[in-house]
Amino acid sequence: MRKLLAPEGVDREAVLAGEHFMTGDDACAEGAIAAGCRFYAGYPITPSSEIAERMAKRLPQVGGVYIQMEDELASMAAIIGASCAGAKAMTATSGPGFSLMQENIGLAFMMEAPCVVVDVQRGGPSTGLPTLLGQSDMMQARFGSHGDYAVIAYAPASPQEMFDLTVKAFNMAERFRTPVLVMADELVGHMSERVVIDPDKIEIERRPRPEAKPAEGARILPFGANGRGENGVPPMPLAGEGYRVHFTGLTHDERGYPQIDPETQERMIRRKIRKIWDHRDEIVEYEEVELDDAPIVLVAYGSTARAALRALRLARERGLRVGMLRLITAWPFPGRKVEELKDRELIVPEVNAGQMAREVERWARKPVHRVNRLGGAPIAPEEILQKIEEVA
């Protein structure tokens, strides 16, 4: 019997190897299973329900567990619990559910509980556009929970990336002991495309584990950097393994015990943020398309990057030198790369009122050009092309 605890390496029997024609939502579920996810707790919500449905079918086949919870608060809490017990755990949702998960996302950060949260974005606020595209949770991904924290968030642009980046999300979650977000969107979630799953190309990372065995008196510091410096990722003991562990949402010391004072707050929260921020060069990913000679650069992500790429081609056909920086990680934001581009004309198309555009402006230290739509339909390549022609 396969264990609920995450398999050590690639569980070849579980991976759906081969070439497939599948939706982004299905590819996301397969990515999770390939990465060793054996626990899913969720609450159905359009346009992410297909992830839950596929996990409900697939997890029992690979020795995993699917639990449908009573709401998104419970879903997020359940994956934190499963993570503390050693499982690789995931939930998937969309806007309204993502809002309900925010408190517990902060808890996962505070407890340093690795887990993956997928948000297949739709138009908001509130119930908004349940079945239609949106990209308007990008800032909520960064700042949605209260308090100071750091996140890792991916923005897949195709079903293939729904697979690949979900695998990567699990790896980053494990490596840095932190919640990782996959900020998909309705278009990417529901579109069907070729998805290649090659078990030989899948890498699996596991969370750091305590060196001392859980014998009587074994002294471990599940929240201490343990000699790894101020940005260290602490080893994670598992509930029930034999260590004496104390996990809490209160500000705690290296042992996990509540310590409510400014010094502990400063020391502990800074380390939790720095373990991600100081490693941003290893986390940040982006794709450069014809950047070198381009005085005009599109900065795009998710499904909108597909329209931007088409606009880039149309512009090149007309002799306009346009390049694109496609964000693969939205957070940490590839700020240094944008800084390098500060002398170019920057255009940021996105299906919201202008969220990532602000971050681009912050790093470029100047206003950028925006192409926005508040949700419901993708931005057409022609709309982006029109902006390119205005700017050129």
Binding site: Y43, P44, I45, A56, Q61, D71, E72, L100, T127
Partner: protein, 345 residues
Amino acid sequence: MTVTNSNGNADSATATITRAVPRVKTLKELAAQEEREKRFQGGHSLCAGCSIPVMVRSVLNTIDIPVVVVNATGCLEVATTRYPTTAWNVPWLHVAFENAAAAASGVEVAFRVLKRKGRTAQELGFELPGEVRVVVFGGDGGTYDIGLQALSGALERGHRFTYICYDNEAYMNTGNQRSGATPPLAHTTTTPVGRESLGKLQQRKDLTEIAVAHHVPYVAQASISHWQDLVRKVEAALRADGPSFLNVLAPCQRGWGYEPCLTVEIARLAVETRFWPLYEVVEGEYRLNALPKKPKPVSEWLKTQKRFAHLLKPENRHLLDELQLQVDREWEKLLRRCEGRVLEV
């Protein structure tokens, strides 16, 4: 104590049937009310054979005084308000999935405060009606599961409102995922029947009993198939001086898997097989509202729906027997609580 035995011999209980039934509106009167105010109109996009509009029209046409409807997210909300049209001709408030009862609390208190302060039409810009009823419609997703906390809070605080749950036993709006109301062994998209599973492996929540546990003046279980009983219960709920709760079984042809023309019949079968007993709890006192003379085995109800198809295979006979046992056990428990009090329309 006069209770029936489990094989359906109802002699002792029927002896005490109370027939002092308040007069309920006739179909003609309901139709006349509908004609007059058109509170809920056709042209919406609920599925053919959907039981929800049957329930909503029965409810709204029973009420003569002004009504404010609060609607949780769900089939009813989505399909009746597709821009630029709406089926609602009453003040209608759609909130999030989880907070209909909380929003209704706000509406009820605000109205009460305006009334108490005696605000004039000049101050308000409109004439405050003498009486208003706040009615909430929520599905089983928005009531049994994500909205349960808000419902519990509102029942406990004692707001005068009527919460009506249309229970179609799964998340039908998002494509038939299991809910706390899904019966054991039913197939849904998140409890798929296959090699590893026989459908939902857990019990269903008894939400009606949860509402009763809040000691509110009126709680009832009803079915769209028994419309006179439903209409009487709506009237009783609106008369109650405090919170009232109705749990109405609402078959779903898409999710349950049956021909759309069979909706009412399947709802009736749920009552006749005692899967969905009709009863009410008035100030804590239980009354049975339908005493099937010749109760049918629960398999009669199950076999009408594709979601239970796997239970009819010979190798799953024991599961069917187990379900029947459960239904019998629940029925006997209910009879004990009713202590022979039966009130049928």
